[in-house]
Amino acid sequence: MCNCKDKNIYLPYMMQVEKVTVEAPGVKTLRLKFKNEEDEKSFSFRAGQFAEYSAIGDGECTFCIASPSTRKGYVECTFRQAGRVTSSLSKLEEGDTMGFRGPFGNYFPMEEWKGKNLLFIAGGIALPPMRSVIWTALDEREKYGDVTIVYGAKTVADLVYKNELKEWEDREDVTLITTVDPGGETPEWKGKVGFVPTVVGESPINAENTIAIVCGPPVMIKFTFPVLEKLGFAKENIYTTLENRMKCGVGKCGRCNVGKMYVCKDGPVFTAVDLAELPDDF
């Protein structure tokens, strides 16, 4: 029986940092293991959900869970060092203790996507929320049709998950298109040069029976949606995750409220239909 009534929703699980990976300048991935076995046993999440990660003594930060839901025993987060909490998190070393609250929010309805093609479009640091879905799909590859990933960053150095990009590139059952913003290329760069929305528009993408999942900064989302609609995607087949400022993650602190929606409760996953109904307040 769940004893949720008596649980303090603000008390984080204690986690041990198991692995630290430097992904790009200022960008790190932390792999966390539950310190308490009971916590680990009762924990599960769905791709797209987010969590509050805390550097105890410095505060909490909101990121999507970057590891796939198909892999048990750990969770991962990838973040760019930007503020006080992320600076403090990025100082953590293997074996250190930190806090974790979650999973929160809704998730991608992957059950409904069975038999469909998946098109992933991500920009910059927004690959992490996408990575959870990508690996969840690839771990159960037979359930889906074609898998296409379009990923862009400012410069070649800013591309995260370089090893995984290589892995996806080498797989027969994945089409990977990488791009960097004009001026961000290096002489060795073999991918495309151009902004994500433009590259999507120019790629051989078939909207039929396809779900598009878009993650990135607000401007990228704004410019990518019309491109997808032009390619023939219906609004209800376009998904995204909103990165609003959050604190509590549980619908209490009021920070993530947009219109009648709370991003932490009703999101972070929204379809283009949902977004069109939201006031321009995010």
């Binding site: 949720c4 009534k5 008596d6 649980k7 303090n8 929703i9 603000y10 008390l11 984080p12 204690m14 805390s54 105890i56 003594g57 410095d58 505060g59 909490e60 930007a82 503020g83 992320t86 074996g95 250190d96 203790t97 806090g99 900064p217 607000p218 990165e243 609003n244 400022r245 604190k247 509590c248 549980v250 619908g251 209490k252 602190c253 009021g254 920070r255 409220n257 947009v258 219109g259 009648k260 409760k265 006031p279 321009d280 307040d281 995010f282």
Partner: protein, 336 residues
């Protein structure tokens, strides 16, 4: 519901019985010019000659700053100390206004949808509410325009309405019954049915149902800019409001120990929605003012079957630049 009567001369002894049966009684107390809620030791300390306390009674259930947990670092290990429900005292909130009692509806809703907030709920469970009907009101009050009233019983365990020589006690809940039971012999049945005679007449200035409907479509209206032109974004309105429940989460480290706190916050502050990237979805005071009113009159009603305002008028009384919510709402009501 039972409607009972207690003589004026008997109220102090009932009060003393209540005080003896609980850890604290919290009531309005006069400190120079202001009246604020505080723990009181004797019946004489309770202030009654005022229209409204500056701050609401919400901090009894939702303190201005509250510890979420504390921690101690031991090398690379961290030990956390959870909130202890046993540490929450039993208390009676005495002589609150009906508009404060009514604020428990939106507060209960937000602290309990999906996830339950154990701190709020424990305090709520251990607090009994004895409200008092208002015999007088001022020009800032508009409870009757938002579904309440100067003699409204919503949210109260007991509502007292003072008559010339005693008080009518409307006993609304089991908690209320057990407070009466502490001095059962002092109460008699009350059947006169003339309560309204002793309750202030607060004129209704707008139709809130129509206002709610209208506000749904007003996101892009110019009115927010016009109304908020002089707003300083000081957040005073949110701090004094009985229904505002937004909070921030902050750390309070002291060497290797420390605590995580939640502190009241306000959507009126520019920082409230500022992203680390510099992006701020509500970058103007107009957009923050819109959030304040739309949240209370459009968003909350769409989700929680209650309003985010009880018409207490505190925000208008506290505002350093005389923003007056009653006038602002009336003028929105009049927009064609």
């Amino acid at each position: 519901m039972d409607t009972l009567y207690i003589k004026k001369s008997d109220i102090p002894s009932w009060w003393n019985a209540i005080k003896a049966a609980h850890d604290h009684v919290v009531a309005p107390v006069r400190k120079d010019k202001v009246v604020e809620f505080a723990r009181v030791e004797s019946y004489e300390q309770v202030a009654t000659d005022y229209i409204q306390t500056t701050r609401s009674a919400k901090e009894v259930l939702f303190p201005r700053t509250e510890r979420l947990f504390s921690y101690k670092k031991n090398g690379r290990d961290i030990e956390v100390q959870d909130f202890d429900p046993e540490s929450v005292p039993s208390q009676v909130l005495w002589h609150v206004r009906p508009c404060d009692a009514a604020s428990l509806f939106p507060l209960d809703a937000v602290f309990n949808w999906d996830y339950k907030d154990v701190m709020y709920n424990t305090r709520r469970e251990r607090t009994a509410i004895v409200a008092t009907s208002c015999a007088t009101a001022d020009e800032y009050c508009f409870c009757t325009s938002v579904g309440g009233g100067a003699g409204d019983t919503r949210g109260s365990d007991i509502l007292l309405t003072y008559t010339a020589d005693g008080a009518i006690a409307e006993v609304m809940t089991e908690k209320g019954k057990s407070l009466v039971a502490l001095s059962q012999n002092l109460f008699t049945e009350y059947t006169a049915g003339d309560k309204d005679k002793y309750v202030a007449d607060v004129p209704r200035v707008f139709d809130v149902e129509k206002l709610k409907e209208k506000m749904h479509g007003m996101f892009d209206s110019q009115v927010w800019k016009e109304q908020s032109e002089r707003c300083l974004g000081c957040g005073a309105c949110a701090y004094v409001c009985p229904t505002c429940s937004c909070f921030d989460i902050q750390e309070n480290p002291k060497g290797s120990c420390g605590e995580r706190l939640r502190c009241w916050d306000s959507c009126g502050f520019a920082q409230f929605t500022l992203h680390t990237s510099g992006h701020n979805p509500r970058s103007t005071q107009a957009s923050r003012w819109r959030q304040r009113l739309m949240h209370k009159f459009s968003y909350i009603p769409q989700r929680q079957d209650s309003l985010g305002c009880t018409g207490c008028g505190r925000c208008s009384r506290a505002c350093p630049v005389d923003m007056n919510i009653k006038e602002h709402l009336s003028s929105i009501d009049k927009i064609q």
